[in-house]
Amino acid sequence: MVNLNVNIGALKLKNPVTTASGTYAYGEEFSDFMDISKLGGIFVKGLTLHNREGNAYPRMAETASGMLNSVGLQNKGIDHFIAHIFPAIKNSGTQIIANVNGSTIEDYIAVSEKLNELRGMEAIELNISCPNVKEGGMAFGINPKSAREATEAVRKVYKKTLIVKLSPNVTHIDEMAKIVEDAGADAVSLVNTFLGMAIDAEARKPILSTITGGLSGPCIKPIALRMIWQVYNAIKVPVVGMGGIMNAKDAIEFILAGSSAIQVGTANFVDPAISVRIIEGIEEYCDRYGVKDVNDLTGSLKI
């Protein structure tokens, strides 16, 4: 028997496979396709202080081995989540982790304070890397000073496990990771989407209503892997890795590069049951190589 339990700070996951914010809604959408209680955890769709309608249509463009989205954090706000959504999913048998967004530091604080009080949720993911909002979001995550400020501010009010989600749209991701670690993060997650653009050559127009959007999917995997490797070697707190994971082999690569847990994102759209198969595949891999504990794989790349 392989041990698949992993800890991200004080957050205990029954296995390293979780689903990425914004790609798994609130989990229930997948219950027809798979047993969601098998997951290590679910990072639910990004939350903001107030209701957000998100961006105008079109919000999606397919690209080579990937997609751009500019959803823009559509959600009904934190109070609605706490009152109506969380009660319905908190007993789904897996860890539910909120993805916290804000246009200002005050927003981040307000949402995090509410989640600090929320029983049954052990961790939050602080999203300072959303490329699809006019204010806040990625603007926090690509600037060392504001990344530090946001993390410190939330750390003051949030006492459970704080995971900070990093933007890949930076020159030195390892330095950003060190900054947020230093500012009190219990873990970092990466990568969020890359800022990209798609053009309709015939119409001579951008495809997305927002001109630019966030690139995800297997196309970004090589860059994501490199960043995880750099960050793993730069910090001490755990790394939650993602970016184009489509199958168990990809997940293993992210673990070898330094991820303690991984998130499955865009792959959920192509195959809504893929995350359970990734769990099985990791177990199989461990069995095949006599790995007793999946934690032994983390960062075990031979150089």
Binding site: F33, G54, Y57, M60, A61, A64, M67, V71, F269, V270
Partner: protein, 255 residues
């Protein structure tokens, strides 16, 4: 209950060089399929197609466990779907989306533009079962865009418009006498096609104070409510075409 399941290509019926019906067969029983439902089809073997493609369910046969799709070729995905061989495997997520509301008194008008007729065969079958008379108004740029009138003719009258006048009334569907004339015997309109067409029809339905449902298209990444990419503006905010739709009562839409 939504399913992810492999189907085999059972056969094609080509309507012309860019429109075909593909029949897919499942080894297992099908769940109930409703008019308006769609499927997300994974296009096999094309490196330039990453996401699934959404298609209305054109027909289904619960005896042989087949689903049929009416496909118009517009890009790589639809072209590849037209090049499969009998027996090839195709993966589907289905049935997705809501359904047309056939609770209505009296006759209905069904207006389809181009491949927008796809969801109306199942609708026609259900209406016929309920004994509700229907008239199909089908529009195309030219006569080459008007297909399957023989099939739909089994369920009701067929009215045709073409922009170039090569078949039926010349003009858009909205120019057809059935819409232009004072008397309007229909209690409900169902429509599917290009956005501008549906918006024009919605306008007319409002003027005539007649119920109207439109089946919308949208760029979709998932098809089952996970990504929030496929929104349409409604009177109650942005809603997902894939789960709250694809069928919307036009009163709900912020058109």
């Amino acid at each position: 209950m939504k399913l992810v399941r492999d189907f085999k290509v059972a056969g094609y019926k080509w309507l012309n060089e860019s429109n075909f019906i593909i029949e897919l067969q499942s080894a297992e029983d099908l769940p109930p399929i409703h008019p308006g439902n769609f499927a997300e089809i994974q296009v096999p073997g094309n490196p330039n197609v990453f996401l699934r493609r959404p298609f209305s369910i054109y027909d289904c046969d619960l005896t042989y466990n087949t689903l049929s799709f009416y496909v118009k070729i517009i890009g790589e995905g639809t072209a590849t779907l037209g090049k499969l061989k009998q027996g090839d495997t195709v993966n589907l997520i289905f049935p997705l989306g809501n359904k047309f509301d056939t609770e209505t008194e009296g006759p209905v008008l069904i207006i389809g533009g181009g491949s927008g007729i796809a969801p109306f065969l199942l609708l026609g079958k259900e209406l016929k079962e309920k004994g509700i008379p229907m008239t199909f108004l089908v529009g195309g740029r030219t006569s080459g865009d008007v297909h399957l009138t023989d099939v739909f003719g089994q369920y009701g009258d067929i009215l045709i418009t073409t922009e170039d006048g090569s078949q039926g009334t010349k003009g858009m569907v909205t120019h057809h006498p059935v819409i232009q004339e004072e008397s309007f015997p229909f209690k409900k309109i169902f429509t599917c096609g290009p956005d501008p067409m549906m918006k024009a029809i919605a306008e007319i339905a409002k003027q005539k104070s007649v119920e109207c449902e439109a089946s919308l298209e949208n760029t979709m990444a998932c098809g089952f409510g996970a990504c929030l990419c496929c929104v349409v503006e409604t009177t109650t905010g942005n809603r997902c075409v894939c789960t709250d739709g694809p069928v919307f009562n036009i009163k709900e839409l912020a058109w």
